[in-house]
């Protein structure tokens, strides 16, 4: 959130019919984003009410005006004074704060994005029109692709990474291309692209970060051995339905946001609210889809991870750093007790990161404000581990057993959780030869222990 109290960020004026006759940015942009015109009737509902009250009362007023601009919530302090020459008012914008609507780093989609950033094998930067500006990679497999993208700067990224099963004229709206399967010339691996937009309040995306990811580990494809036969799948969500469902749901969310922000034209407030609810529900559905995909992966017969020698302290540092901002928003301190030496485990880095993000994210979500979350590393012979402890409400003995069950919410609702996070985390821990347990008592917080096999070769 940015606060510019004490300055006048923008001036504006209205006439006797409460029409906005002139406005500086960012107010002018918000008026347009809310479906209005300049000059034209005030399209920002709370500002319209404020101006009308000032004009009718003849008294100056200063108050916060709330509005929504695309995916951002705007809170602006506006000083409105009567007595403008044509019977209208003068407006001074004193501060302008923006924050993402439905911001929740713990959501499955946000968690996946953090992991994607860490695992991307190629990163590119795109302009607002999805044209390549530059690309970087450390992968020898992708070196030629990276060189081609840099040589062809100014070209649509889809020319280098053709989306699979998408034959529409490019570029599609970025929401529809996010998480799309793509072909990488000369590579037999399965690839997908994540698009992360850079957005200024009141504007379209000014650029994008493109992440190229593969679920197949690189080393498997450097060996001459034929690929293992695919294990039979337990169900269809992740493999077949998720890619098919993700695109139409993303389209529903994109269209609902267009309606909600009145980009398609003026709309009564009630209908804009309905559209907002549709967008929120769609986003929750996308999160649930991500969890269901993970669920299918961990429940598949023959599911394996790709263990490597990893330093648990390093993973814990990353997880604490990633969620640090969100913890600070609740004035929660993450107390990471770093060991003097690396704590080496035999496990898959991204799976351990996924588990720790889930544990720390849950702690932030359910612990009281201004409390502490402790992260400590343990090493005891045949096991190494990480303990995430919080000062939340704690769990009864019965709840400690139930909390790892599928879809178990312990009576909670409305917080965007699916009840799958801990179930998936425990399955991942077990797949790596470890375990995920909890120790707790009502009123005394909870301590989750992720135990893993040590790396005895180190």
């Amino acid at each position: 959130m940015t606060s510019l109290v004490g300055t006048i960020l923008a001036h504006a004026s209205t006439d006797g019919q409460d029409r906005l006759t002139a406005a500086d940015e960012p107010l002018a942009g918000l008026q347009t984003a809310c479906g209005g015109e300049l000059p034209g009737a005030i399209a920002i509902p709370e500002l319209r009410d404020l101006v009308r009250a000032v004009r009718q009362s003849g008294l100056a007023l200063t108050k916060a005006v709330n509005a929504q601009d695309g995916a951002d919530a705007v809170v602006a302090w506006m000083n409105v004074e009567p007595g403008a020459p044509d019977g209208g008012c003068t407006i001074r914008v004193r501060s302008w704060q923006t924050s993402p609507v439905l911001a929740d780093d713990s959501s499955a989609a946000a968690r996946r994005r953090v992991i994607d950033r860490g695992m991307a094998e190629l990163q590119a930067y795109l302009d607002g029109g999805q044209r390549v500006l530059a690309a970087i990679t450390d992968s020898t497999e992708l070196a030629n692709l990276c060189a081609a993208m840099n040589a062809g700067a100014g070209t649509l990224w889809t020319d280098f990474l053709p989306p699979e099963n998408v034959h529409h004229h490019q570029p599609l709206h970025w929401r529809l291309l996010d998480d799309t399967r793509v072909s990488v010339p000369g590579s037999a691996r399965s690839w997908r692209v994540a698009l992360l937009p850079q957005m200024q309040p009141g504007h379209d995306a000014s650029g994008f970060e493109l992440l190229l990811l593969s679920d197949d580990p690189p080393q498997l494809f450097s060996q001459a051995a034929p690929p293992n036969p695919l294990p039979p799948r337990a169900n269809l969500i992740g493999g077949d339905l998720a890619p098919v469902l993700r695109q139409p749901i993303a389209r529903i969310v994109a269209n609902a946001e267009t309606i909600r922000t009145r980009l398609a034209g003026p709309l009564p407030d009630a209908y804009a609210d309905y559209a907002g609810e549709i967008a929120s529900a769609g986003k929750l559905l996308l999160d649930l889809l991500e969890d269901m995909s993970d669920l299918e992966v961990v429940e598949a017969e023959g599911f394996t991870t790709h263990p490597d020698s990893i330093d648990l302290a390093e993973v814990a540092q990353q997880a604490a750093g990633i969620l640090g901002v969100r913890a600070r928003e609740k004035a929660i301190a993450i107390d990471l007790d770093m060991p003097e030496h690396p704590v080496l485990a035999r496990a898959e880095f991204r799976r351990v990161l996924q588990i720790l993000l889930n544990l720390i994210g849950n702690a932030i979500r359910y612990a009281p404000a201004s409390s502490r979350i402790g992260i400590t590393l343990r090493s005891s012979g045949d096991r190494v581990g990480v303990v995430v402890s919080d000062q939340g409400p704690g769990l009864s003995a019965d709840d400690q057993h139930r909390i790892f069950e599928k879809f178990e919410r312990l009576g909670r609702s409305g917080d965007g959780g699916s009840g799958l996070g801990l179930y998936i985390s425990r399955r991942l821990a077990e797949a790596m030869g470890g375990a995920l347990t909890v120790e707790s008592a009502p009123g005394e917080g909870a301590a989750f222990l992720l135990a893993l096999p040590p790396d005895t070769d180190a």
Binding site: M1, T2, S3, L4, V5, G6, T7, D72, T98, R117, G118, Q123, Y125, D127, L133, A134, I136, N150, A153, Q198, M199, Q200, P201, S206, G207, E209, S309, E314, Q317, Q318, A320, G321, G324, V325, A333, I334, D335, L336, D337, M338, P339, E340, H341, P342, L344, D455, D457, A458
Partner: protein, 311 residues
């Protein structure tokens, strides 16, 4: 009629307030150096913010592993924790490296914060996007953008390599590696090879700080937009301020810490920034803008003199 006596008194008051603030900032800066040196050696220290401590230690640990990779084994080899610890301790005694890492961490934290609060693009802020669109500036702007992508990736993953260090700091670290290897003849040869490899693999033209300086030279060193962080982005803003005030970029990055607001304000004034614009910058960086009040009475040259007196 101008009351010259009153004006002089006000000027002295304003200067005294700023000098006092600068002295406080200097004390804080010295303390920061010492606690970071300690924090790097003792990860359990509570004297620094959690994020600064973790990121500084993680960067040192990454570099230590990279050094050991070169000295005793191929990349990816596992090293004894005690060996890693020894190299971390040795590296933490290199002032230039520690100063650089501290500044880097502060710059990254500011970059992230302004991304969250102002939606300021960490890689391609508005000024850079304008330059990329201009054929005459595209090559230099794209080179900086690429360097900035590598920098952001290293910090997002908390994984620093020797190649991430500026050219000058790399040289200092090479000196440390050679000193470390001097204990054994076999290691000495190996240390020389490692340093030669690092130097030959380094491309000064791809150095982020040099790339940012090149962009600013093309833009014109006195371009006002370069000193507006909302337009230039954190990286170009810091380089521009350092160049215009003849300070090191590492030092200027430290001035963005809230405790150093006085130095930042005086540096901006020394760079010729209008007091109104200074107020905007202080507010954008989430500081109290009270310091801007006295700056209207301080001429840019006077501000430069104040900075020089503090060094």
């Amino acid at each position: 009629m101008i009351d010259t006596a009153s004006h002089a008194a006000n000027l002295n008051d304003a200067e005294a307030v700023l000098l006092d603030a600068l002295a406080n900032a200097e004390r804080a800066s010295g303390a920061a150096r010492s606690f970071l040196a300690q924090a790097a050696r003792s990860p359990a220290s509570d004297d620094v913010s959690e994020e600064t401590r973790v990121r500084t230690y993680a960067a040192l640990a990454s570099l230590a592993v990279a050094v050991l990779d070169g000295l005793v084994g191929a990349a990816g080899a596992r090293h004894q924790p005690a060996e890693v610890d020894v190299v971390i301790r040795v590296l933490s005694e290199c002032p230039a490296l520690l100063e650089h890492l501290r500044a880097d961490v502060i710059e990254w934290q500011l970059t992230q914060r302004l991304h969250d609060t102002l939606a300021l693009d960490p890689v391609a802020p508005p000024l850079l996007q304008q330059l990329v669109a201009q054929p005459d500036h595209r090559a230099a702007a794209t080179a900086f953008l690429t360097a900035q992508m590598y920098w952001c990736r290293a910090h997002a993953r908390m994984n620093m390599t020797l190649g991430n260090l500026p050219y000058a700091v790399q040289n200092q670290v090479c000196g440390v590696i050679q000193a470390l290897g001097a204990s054994e003849p076999d290691l000495a040869d190996r240390a020389n090879i490692v340093c030669a490899d690092v130097r030959s693999a380094s491309d000064p033209a791809a150095d982020r700080e040099r790339c940012s300086a090149k962009v600013l030279e093309l833009l014109g060193l006195d371009a006002p937009a370069a000193l507006r962080v909302q337009e230039a982005g954190v990286a170009l803003f810091l380089t521009a301020l350092a160049r215009r005030t003849m300070q090191s970029r590492t030092a200027v990055a430290g001035w963005t810490d809230e405790a150093q607001a006085a130095r930042l304000a005086v540096s901006l004034r020394a760079a010729g920034t209008d007091p109104g614009d200074i107020r905007q910058q202080l507010l954008a960086l989430h500081f109290d803008d009270a310091l801007a009040e006295g700056l209207a009475q301080i001429a840019p040259q006077q501000a430069s003199d104040m900075l020089a007196d503090m060094t």
